[in-house]
C-alpha cells in the first residue's frame, strides 16, 4: 500500500472550504487520480464560479478561472487548441445547472473530448445559500425560506439523466460522497472518465453529490445522514451512460 500523502496537484496549504465540506474531498479525489495517471504536468483544471473557484488557489497544476457557467465553453477552446492535454472542468450546481445550462448541454452534445466534474450540493454556497436549480423540494434556502415549492420553482434539475439522453457523451455517472463506498466508487469513475478522455473517446460527465454544512445549517455529520434520507433518493447514484462498457 502506498503511503497516504498529499497529491502533487494540490498546493501544500489548507483549502478555503468550510470544515466538513465535501468539495475538499471531491477536489482531492480528482488530484489523486491525476497523480495515479501521471498527468500532473498534462492536466488543465478549468475552474468555474462559486465555491468551486477556491480551486484556483489550491490547485498546483495548470488552472484557468472562467466566467460563471462558461467553463465548458472555455474547456472547448482549450481542448480544441491542445488536444493532447487532459482537460476537465470543475463546476458547482448553480454554475452548471442554471447559468451555464446552455454551455454544458452544448459541449456534451458536441461530444467535446474533456471531462466535467460536477459537484452538486443543492445550494449557492459562496453567495450565501440561495436556492439552486438542484435544491430539493421542501429544502430551505435564503430565497425559499419555507422550503422549495414546486408550484413556483419547479423541480430539482437532474443533470445525469438529462445528459445521458444525448447521443455524444460516452460516460455519465453520479456518485454520493457521503460514504466510504461512495468515495471509492467516485474515484474509480473519475479515473475511468479521464482514461476515456486520454484515449480520445469523447465527453465524460461525473456528478458528485456533496454537502454544505454551512448553508444547510447542519453539523457535517448530520449532512451525511440528510444526504442518505433526502438527496440520494432523488439524485440516484449510478452509471447513466457507458458507451465503452463491455457486452
Amino acid at each position: 500500500m502506498p503511503a497516504y500523502k498529499r497529491p502533487s496537484s494540490l498546493m501544500p496549504m489548507t483549502t478555503g472550504y468550510c470544515p466538513g465540506c465535501l468539495h475538499a474531498l471531491a477536489t482531492r479525489l480528482v488530484a489523486d487520480v491525476i497523480d495515479e495517471l501521471d498527468q500532473k504536468n498534462n492536466a488543465i483544471n478549468v475552474v468555474s464560479v462559486g465555491c468551486s473557484a477556491l480551486n484556483l488557489y489550491s490547485w498546483a497544476g495548470d488552472v484557468i478561472g472562467s466566467a460563471h457557467g462558461r467553463a465548458p465553453a472555455v474547456a472547448t477552446g482549450v481542448k480544441r487548441s491542445m488536444p493532447d492535454r487532459l482537460v476537465f472542468t470543475y463546476q458547482g450546481d448553480g454554475d452548471l445547472a442554471a447559468i451555464g445550462l446552455a454551455e454544458i448541454m452544448s459541449a456534451a452534445n458536441r461530444g467535446e473530448n474533456f471531462t466535467v466534474i460536477f459537484a452538486n450540493n443543492q445550494t449557492y454556497g459562496m453567495t450565501g445559500g440561495q436556492m439552486a436549480p438542484t435544491t430539493l423540494i421542501g429544502q430551505k434556502s435564503t430565497t425559499t425560506r419555507f422550503g422549495r415549492d414546486a408550484a413556483t420553482t419547479g423541480y430539482p434539475m437532474q443533470m445525469c439523466e438529462l445528459i445521458s439522453v444525448l447521443k455524444a457523451p460516452v460516460f455519465v455517472a453520479r456518485y454520493a460522497l457521503n460514504s466510504p463506498k461512495g468515495v471509492m466508487d467516485a474515484k474509480k469513475g473519475i479515473k475511468k472518465a479521464f482514461e476515456l478522455q486520454l484515449a480520445g473517446k469523447g465527453f465524460t460527465f461525473i456528478e458528485l453529490l456533496t454537502n454544505c454544512p454551512t448553508n444547510w445549517g447542519m453539523s457535517p455529520l448530520n449532512t451525511l445522514e440528510y444526504m442518505n434520507t433526502n438527496t440520494i433518493p432523488y439524485f440516484k447514484p449510478g452509471i447513466y451512460k457507458d458507451e465503452e462498457a463491455e457486452g
Binding site: 504536468n41 488543465i44 478549468v46 473557484a53 484556483l56 490547485w59 498546483a60 497544476g61 495548470d62 488552472v63 484557468i64 478561472g65 472562467s66 466566467a67 462558461r70 465553453a73 472555455v74 474547456a75 472547448t76 477552446g77 482549450v78 481542448k79 480544441r80 487548441s81 491542445m82 492535454r85 446552455a102 454551455e103 448541454m105 452544448s106 458536441r110
Partner: protein, 355 residues
C-alpha cells in the same frame, strides 16, 4: 502580393488566417455571417479549429480558452452579439489574454436593424464590458485597410496581452473590393510561451490564468493597464489627415462615413472651399493631437459625420477642440445609409453658410 476581388467579411477572415489566427468561435448574426462561414472551411485547411458556439456568450468564452493556450484566436459578431460578449471581453482583459474581436455593426439600439450603421462607437471605445478596461479599436475605411489591420491585430494583442477590437460597419462587411493579401505570417510563439498553457518551451512549471485577483494584485494590474493605455496614446495612434494645411472646415469621420465625406470634400475643393478631414483609424487611442493641434485661428468649424444619430464621437472631438470653434454634426442612422448627396449638402450648408 496576391490581388483578389473580395467581400469585406471574407477579406477579414482570410487576413486573420494569414495573420496567424488558428481558432475561431462565433454565433450567426447578420451582417457578419460570411466570417464564420468562411473560417468554418478555411481554418481546418491550415490546422486550426472552428467552433460554431451555442451563443455569443459561449463563443467568446471558447476564445478565452483557446487564447489561454497561446493560440491566436478570434470571434466576430454584430452589435447585439457584442453586447452578449461584453462579459467575456472583460474577462479576457482581466486574465490578460490576447484575442481579436470583430464587430460588423448594424443599426441599434436593441435588435435594431440588420442594415449597416456606426452605432457602436461608444460601446467600442468607452465600455466594451464591465470593470473599466480599454481595448485598441481599429476602424478601417477600405477593405485593404481592414486586411492590413486584421493581419497585424494579434501583434498588438500579444504585445499588450489584451483584446483588440476591429469595428467595421455592415457596408464594409458586405462590399466587394480589390484587396492585396499579405503572405502567411510565421508565428513567433516565444511571445506567448512564458505565460500561456502550451508548455511549448518544454517547461514543467504550471500557470494560472485568472480573471479574479486579490485586491492589491488587481490594483497593480489596473495601474499597469493604465500605463499601457497611455503608451497606446503615445505610440499607436493611427490617423489619416487629409488636406488640413489650409482647411477652414475640418470633417471628422471614420470608416465608411469618412469615404463618403472624402468624396464630398473633393467636390467642395473643386468649388474652391477649404475643407479637410481627420479620419481616426484607431478610435481608441483617439487621435487627440490631430484635433488639438489644428490652427484655430484659421479653422472656423468642425463637422462630425457618422452613420449614427446622435453622433457618438462628438464628446471625444469636443474634448480636444475645447470650445475653440463650433462643432457640428451630421448623420444617418437605424440602417439608413449615408450617401454622397446628403453628406455633400450637409457639409456645404455649414461651409457656405459660414461665408
Amino acid at each position: 502580393m496576391e490581388k483578389r476581388f473580395m467581400k469585406g467579411c471574407e477579406a477579414i477572415a482570410e487576413a486573420a488566417v494569414r495573420g496567424g489566427c488558428r481558432f475561431f468561435a462565433g454565433y450567426p448574426i447578420t451582417p457578419q455571417n460570411e466570417i464564420p462561414e468562411y473560417l468554418s472551411w478555411r481554418l481546418p485547411e491550415v490546422g486550426g479549429s472552428f467552433v460554431q458556439g451555442e451563443s455569443e456568450v459561449a463563443s467568446i468564452n471558447m476564445v478565452y480558452g483557446a487564447a489561454a493556450t497561446g493560440t491566436r484566436s478570434m470571434t466576430s459578431s454584430s452589435g447585439p452579439g457584442i453586447s452578449l460578449k461584453a462579459e467575456g471581453i472583460s474577462y479576457l482583459a482581466s486574465a490578460q489574454l490576447p484575442a481579436v474581436i470583430v464587430n460588423i455593426s448594424r443599426g441599434g439600439p436593441g435588435l435594431g436593424s440588420i442594415q449597416p450603421a456606426q452605432s457602436d462607437y461608444l460601446q467600442a471605445t468607452k465600455a466594451l464590458g464591465h470593470g473599466g478596461f480599454r481595448t485598441m479599436v481599429f476602424a478601417p475605411a477600405t477593405l485593404q485597410e481592414a486586411v492590413d489591420l486584421t493581419y497585424n491585430a494579434w501583434d498588438y494583442a500579444e504585445r499588450d496581452r489584451n483584446p483588440v477590437l476591429i469595428l467595421m460597419d455592415g457596408c464594409l462587411g458586405a462590399i466587394m473590393e480589390e484587396v492585396e493579401l499579405p503572405p502567411m505570417k510565421e508565428l513567433d510563439y516565444t511571445v506567448t510561451e512564458d505565460w500561456d498553457l502550451s508548455k511549448r518551451n518544454g517547461r514543467e512549471d504550471s500557470h494560472m490564468i485568472t480573471p479574479i485577483l486579490p485586491e492589491m494584485a488587481l490594483e497593480m494590474l489596473n495601474k499597469f493597464k493604465g500605463m499601457t493605455y497611455n503608451m497606446w496614446g503615445m505610440m499607436d495612434v493611427k490617423v489619416e489627415e487629409y488636406l488640413l494645411e489650409d482647411a477652414e472646415y475640418v470633417v471628422v469621420a471614420y470608416g465608411i462615413a469618412a469615404r463618403v465625406a472624402k468624396e464630398a470634400i473633393n467636390t467642395l475643393r473643386e468649388e474652391g472651399y477649404k475643407v479637410g478631414m481627420i479620419r481616426p483609424i484607431t478610435l481608441y487611442p483617439f487621435p487627440k493631437a490631430s484635433l488639438d493641434n489644428l490652427d484655430y485661428g484659421k479653422v472656423k468649424g468642425i463637422i462630425d459625420i457618422e452613420m449614427t444619430i446622435p453622433a457618438q464621437m462628438r464628446d471625444d472631438i469636443e474634448l480636444q477642440v475645447k470650445g475653440r470653434c463650433p462643432v457640428h454634426e451630421y448623420g444617418r442612422s437605424g440602417g439608413m445609409l449615408l450617401d454622397d448627396e446628403g453628406v455633400y449638402n450637409a457639409i456645404s450648408e455649414i461651409v457656405k453658410g459660414g461665408e
